[in-house]
Symmetry: C2
Subunit: 324 residues, 2 copies
Amino acid sequence: VTDLSALGEFGLIERFTRLLSAHPDVVVGVGDDCAVLRCGGSHWLVSCDASLEGVHFRRESAAPEAIGWKAMASALSDIAAMGGKARFALVTLACPPDTDVAWLDALFQGLSAAAASCGAVIVGGDTTRSASGVVLDVTVIGEPLGGRWLTRAGARAGDAVAVTGYPGRSAAGLLALEYSHDAPVLIEAHLHPVPRFAEGQWLAEQTGAHALIDMSDGLLQDAGHVAEAAGLGLDIDPGRLPMARELEKARAWLPGDPAALILGGGEDYELIVALERDAAPALCAEFERRFGLPLTIVGTFEEAGGVRVGGRGYDAAGFDHFKG
Amino acid sequence: VTDLSALGEFGLIERFTRLLSAHPDVVVGVGDDCAVLRCGGSHWLVSCDASLEGVHFRRESAAPEAIGWKAMASALSDIAAMGGKARFALVTLACPPDTDVAWLDALFQGLSAAAASCGAVIVGGDTTRSASGVVLDVTVIGEPLGGRWLTRAGARAGDAVAVTGYPGRSAAGLLALEYSHDAPVLIEAHLHPVPRFAEGQWLAEQTGAHALIDMSDGLLQDAGHVAEAAGLGLDIDPGRLPMARELEKARAWLPGDPAALILGGGEDYELIVALERDAAPALCAEFERRFGLPLTIVGTFEEAGGVRVGGRGYDAAGFDHFKG
């Protein structure tokens, strides 16, 4: 292995992680949605998330307000994915000297609005020149409620794979934008994702919930991370995928099966939770009653067998930043 | 003002800062070296610092280990600049898919070594593809010792401007590298700056020390930030600048007066402190006794008059990322 496209994003992270040493105040380190750090008698959740022009967004196809919103929301979602509460954010911004100031104002409005909508306060950051393209890196700090959080590493064989809301809408919204289809709900899901804070906090309180992650890379890939963290496999039942009404309607113009977008489309920031099998139906019902949003059992974590759909291996591909 | 090159880095920060709201747990917000955040009964210091290829470093002229070291050290220096103790770091790395893995290993060794040398633990981050060029953003978390920290905003008229060590060596080291001069001490100062943690912590304990900042942009510009934060001016005595022996020797090949590098050269990460006038000489003597390093009085904070050298206005220029 000599270059990064062969090693891949997760290979790189694993390579770096091997070099890190443990520390008693690092309760959860590299490899989960957030690090969990001991701070005096309490704990903090910390994460960062980068958004680069030409990789994560294009100035031609997204308004600056939406670019800012999404950069902040995707970072904050990592706190929701541990069941935490958002507290603070820092924003690093690199951009070329000829960047339009009105564009930057709108970008910052989007960053601020997303932070405020999650109860987070922007407290600092860094600004610098870039040779080309805008780079955003958002660091977020949160706290667990009641001293509890859920990592991605707690699933047990037999647990149900459950997912909040209607994933796949963001990926469909991107296609709607690219091909100029009139699909405002899907486009809004793509441009202004809303981290599932209340939902994550409630799930972290349930003893029947064993592991939690947010969907940034797609259902199969992110559920696969949960399985891998516990040394398990998983099987998704394609007949149980929650299908948004707008996604069903989009069959008319989508180039393929909408189910592929639910399985492989990222950036919805819905949550995937591993639920104790016997408790799962009641937890899903209570979740829907509380949040007016479905929590749908879509499959099962199993002893082994990798990531499967309907019992068969599935080339999820998902998204690897370096394998492309 | 329509583009960033007219507004400048500090104009941009001011523009963003106006949009931010206060929060009781944000004890110090945007505008200082670190934000100070209340966390339960204690406080945390948080900051981030970006390093971009082609702006902050070049792969052709610096080894990856040195690039990683400097990115980490410059971020951690912001904690030293409040008198804090380094605890944790997160690293965001964006790079092209064809980046050499051995190069990345060495980069990470540099990041790790600098963190370890300051007592910080790397606990997370983000990795992603970039369209071109390597981007590093390092977030650092520290804590104040004994609940005390020094901001840049506490200088009083009449206070002495004092500086640790021998600034100007890093800028001279960069010139030595670019023009292939044999100046190992200067080059080492440029490639492997060492944040002044013990020194900053001791200064933060002294009641005669009123304000503290680290020198990332140069003596005049950074001392100017301290003056500005207190609504003051300052005058530097050019006859009192601490001149490193190696910088004196470099007169033979330097294109100009070494004093210009002390006044305007950045990236030394020495500390500038505002000292109560009457207490200053004893504090400097005690500092030198403890640390084997000079703390030199180089000027005075005054009621007004902007930034001056020998009583006259000086076009510090310093470095503005956008004005270039």
